[in-house]
Symmetry: D2
Subunit: 360 residues, 4 copies
């Protein structure tokens, strides 16, 4: 049984679709009624993960057009499932026919075969990065819902390979989504060098959610931090997740790491935010801050050794159109998954207290 | 709604209980029938998280005696829910009465109050580390099930504060569960220094699961790596998770990071294991290797600033019995959550192929 | 995988326990914080399903004492899981040893063996009617929650065998929970006759929930009527369920069956209630009314043919203490499951509209 | 929160779509890999619920063309989600504009408004019978899966209004799906009379599943009978459900109702099937037999009283194209939901025993 295509308990996102099938998309069940929504809310998100926009992304032309099939009437959500479909258009299935016969290193070809007995090998099928298009569409809806509650979610590139930003320049805009000009220039040069070597790069994405009120998230298994980890680690190529100071906090002492509470004008605040906005799995009113590690693109043109389906040791060089670094395109995917997770936690939070229930 | 006390889809663990209530425990639903099981399988796990065993753990005496209430008949599981209860015994509720009035930095006091309107403040209530006793009991059952399938899960301390092991010495046994003698000695000294300062330490725990066959895990949201992240990040004090090379892989290139497949005697193997045993969310037959970051103990005796429930800025010094580092006691908790997650993934995997279904 | 011991999505009830194991009980996850609760709220419900209270119930003495293990602090629920345990006391395991060797007609002995390979045969194990004690405990908590929202749930015996009430006399109180004296007298006589023949009776239980506001329930798969059917049909021995006019409505015409809406003082009302309080799966503000069919007790002392585990055709006469009719004791179980289902639907309903979410 | 558009635990069906939106459809997650599947497997099921095929069904022309969007590669399922979309074509939205202003008796107009604040009023929106098209598509896939396991599911009309079949004639084929010629003739006459009065009829559908092995289903809340009740009661217009002898069994005695086990050639059989193929919630190897009550069509042209959105008491006569009886078209919907439920139970059943797990 492989029924793992639904995420969330109350804002539930189910995705479907393969890289080269007829279409991919999502069904969102549980979105409250009355939210203004149209394709125009989704298209800007789709464009951010669209390839072909810079020298660092594949030249594939996936001009993804999301079609809302249900759940919206007269410009507002009805409370019933919102289905969004994206037709697959630019399918060069022939490019991929060769990979049917062998297992690409760093890819899921082998594990899919072991699990299912065979696989849709065209472009990676269900394990393709293209699967994230459906996540982004769902994330756009979640972000719209959050924006109505004055919550924003924003992700950006923190590092590419060894190049890390040292600050955050809100005015900086570039095709790596890296908010510091100097780091951007260095990272660009780093990627270009790898492209010449037919190699690829990875990086770290950081995400900040602002405006989440204190009290969101569940205390035990469904800590908000654990659900965010689940959501973000479920993105292909993500190999690590940390909230607040994360792995750095493991090196600190309690005195250094504890965030002091202070009372300001009758409101409880934290002087620092080592916790990343979550204490005991529940939001503490500070910004929620997390990072994730994205591995270097597995599809590279350099020669690699591997095994074919007959069990022979062979050498391959992966052709086709691949991103030398997927971090810039993954930024919006991370943002989307964070938005879905926070929307779900907020909807799940509405009956924590008897008095809230009484007041309805 | 805070119904986040159940983990897993097919091997489902529900926990209950507060630090100073009558009892805590778990209900395991979905464990296959026929598994030999008794309290003797659980007690060794409970002992590993028991305090009072070294100079580095609280002197509380929680001699946890798990009682199996249901689901076992004539020494074997019956396929019905296995309830395990652990009575709370050594309750010094008076020690904690003071904390009812203020918010301890680094703790969930404030966020619980924001979420629920009030809280069981005795020993942290549901947010206490004591909650993990129920996880360990469930993990012992999962580990027993996995052992019948020749799968082992083993966790240990990789670092304490800045002190990291540089290798793995299987013969080394110590109260920090740190498998290298030199690192153990340094880490002990490091903790002692912090204890003198009434401060605390954090660290990193590593976990290895061996024997998991290729093909386990779901391709999209419920990737095995994502479920492990969810499980481990749901442990209080865990702030980061990484699988395989994790954050290091973000700095590597594709050529460095891809694991080459090789054919050995008709079997597909990987020459390296940067992936940590999971590709595309599905186990690849190699060891599953992950790490998590544990923050320094939030309860420290050093003076800290904070806010009380009246909104006054105050100074506190947390009394009572607290671990200067919780890493050693958390090792078995990480192992337990990993065992539960892998058991769940294996049970969920049984109907991936039509032919498997036919053969039953 | 047999992980079907949890009911509900937001008010989640997990039960455990066998007839003759150490204990049975439940864990309720998702109950809002702040609900006044103690064992005194639960005991009256337990007493209603207690045997030994009339000539028509088994003489077993199960004085069930529910112990709240967690989730309640200073007399109020904390929002964390409420575990309730009931120790098994009056266990005559020897009485049941014989049934280990054969399959009782009308019981789950055979199907458990087919499913699990073996079974806890003592008193029926998990398939015993005793399993419902845990449901009643959970139902008492749900009913307490509903009472705070001015919702009441009330069940009673509508018929025993061929004897059906023709009205409802609120003043009538008897050990069959049959709210009409004449029907009660006839039903008593009917049961006595069957007891002499070592035979047993069935009946129909009716349940009415008052005060449920309009708008509760989900439109498609989780219609409130469908969830009630699931809940009630999951009680052992229940073989049928109908809402409103149920099977009678299948014989009516549209004009006869449609409930006319009328406006009274600005409120929308229905002139009749053929729908049983639910339209399109969502509560319509009228009383929710449903009935269920309870089969005659399968355990009878009369001689029956069956098969033993060696495959021999044999004759048996079931000894031990059994109810000649379980309907009276099942009344509170039906009420409990209805309360749990409605509580769950109400908690799931809190985020249907964006404006509700904004207002929190 | 109204996230009730998913059914099933392991064979998970999520539906979407309104009567007059762009499209409706379903996503099936958890279908095993390797099942031969194409649109040709689905079309015959769609045709059975298609209107316009007889004098007794609406003249709307919904020639539903299911398009498989994902999850099938080279004619076989891949183990990933199967999305099926059906475009809405014959939309006479103007026909329905009037009903935006008032609440149709017997419909969900009022309850949707109460729940969501507004509704897609065109043709009933999400509460339209058209929603079942997506269920039928999913049911066709489930039926295909079951057929590979030699399990068949077959539903038919048992009664229309007061006219009930007295036997089953497999050779009889008619537009009411009523398997007895004489009853069919009487029922036809009965419906024609009601059509003249602008009134409508209800009826009872019976369903038989053959070939389900013993041991399927869960013992407590997810009894196979309870899940079937949930599935079937979730179909709009269904008001009652009974398994085996159902409500009749409530009038019987234990001796009459118990099914005697007999040993035949080493196999355990039941001499009768009062239980309807399920004992203790688990299949017993006999045919699974259940019935459900379908209320008369709520949309009738006869004059009815009701309330408009301004709170005025008004008289209405529902125009547009409506079935005078929906039973014949609901037959395949019942069959579909039964197939989905049984497929889900079978997939959930695969790990009941340790030895089964070992053998994989």
């Amino acid at each position: 049984m492989a029924a793992g295509s639904t995420f969330g308990k109350n804002f539930r996102v189910t995705t479907f679709g393969e890289s080269h099938g007829a279409a991919l998309g999502c069904v969102i069940d549980g979105c409250p009624a009355g939210l203004p929504l149209s394709a125009d809310d989704i298209i800007p998100y789709m464009k951010r993960r669209k390839p072909g926009q810079s020298e660092f992304t594949t030249k594939r032309n996936e001009d993804d057009e999301p079609e809302i099939l249900s759940g919206v009437f007269e410009g507002r959500t009805t409370g019933t499932p919102i289905a969004i479909m994206i037709r697959n258009k630019d399918q060069h299935s022939k490019d991929y026919s060769e990979i049917a016969s062998y297992y690409r290193p760093g890819h899921a070809d082998y594990t899919f075969d072991e699990k299912f007995g065979f696989r849709d090998y065209r472009g990676g099928g269900r394990s393709s990065g293209r699967e994230t298009a459906a996540r982004v569409a769902a994330g756009a809806v979640a972000a719209k819902l959050l924006s109505e509650l004055d919550i924003s979610v924003h992700a950006y590139t923190r590092s590419i390979g060894p190049v890390e930003i040292s600050g955050y320049d809100a005015g900086e805009s570039n095709d790596l989504y890296m908010p510091e000009h100097e780091a951007y220039m260095k990272a660009s040069e780093y990627i270009r060098e790898l492209m010449e070597k037919k190699d690829s790069a990875g990086g770290v994405i950081e995400c900040v959610a602002s405006g989440v009120p204190a009290g969101i998230g569940d205390p035990v298994f469904d800590k908000l931090s654990a659900c965010l980890a689940h959501a973000v680690m479920s993105i292909g190529a993500v190999k690590g997740f940390e909230i607040g100071d994360g792995f750095e906090s493991a090196k600190r002492t309690g005195l250094e790491n504890n965030d002091v509470f202070v009372s300001e004008n009758g409101h409880v605040k934290k002087r620092t935010n080592h916790s990343g906005g979550i204490l005991g799995g529940i939001s503490d009113g500070s910004d929620i801050v997390f990072r994730c590690a994205v591995k270097p693109t597995a599809s590279i043109a350099a020669t690699q050794q591997t095994v074919n389906k007959d069990g022979d040791n062979i050498e391959i060089s992966i052709r086709g159109r691949h991103d030398p670094v997927i971090v810039p395109r993954a930024v919006v995917v991370v943002e989307a998954m964070a938005a879905v997770t926070i929307a779900d936690a907020i909807l799940s939070d509405s009956c924590d207290r008897l008095e809230a229930l009484r007041g309805r």
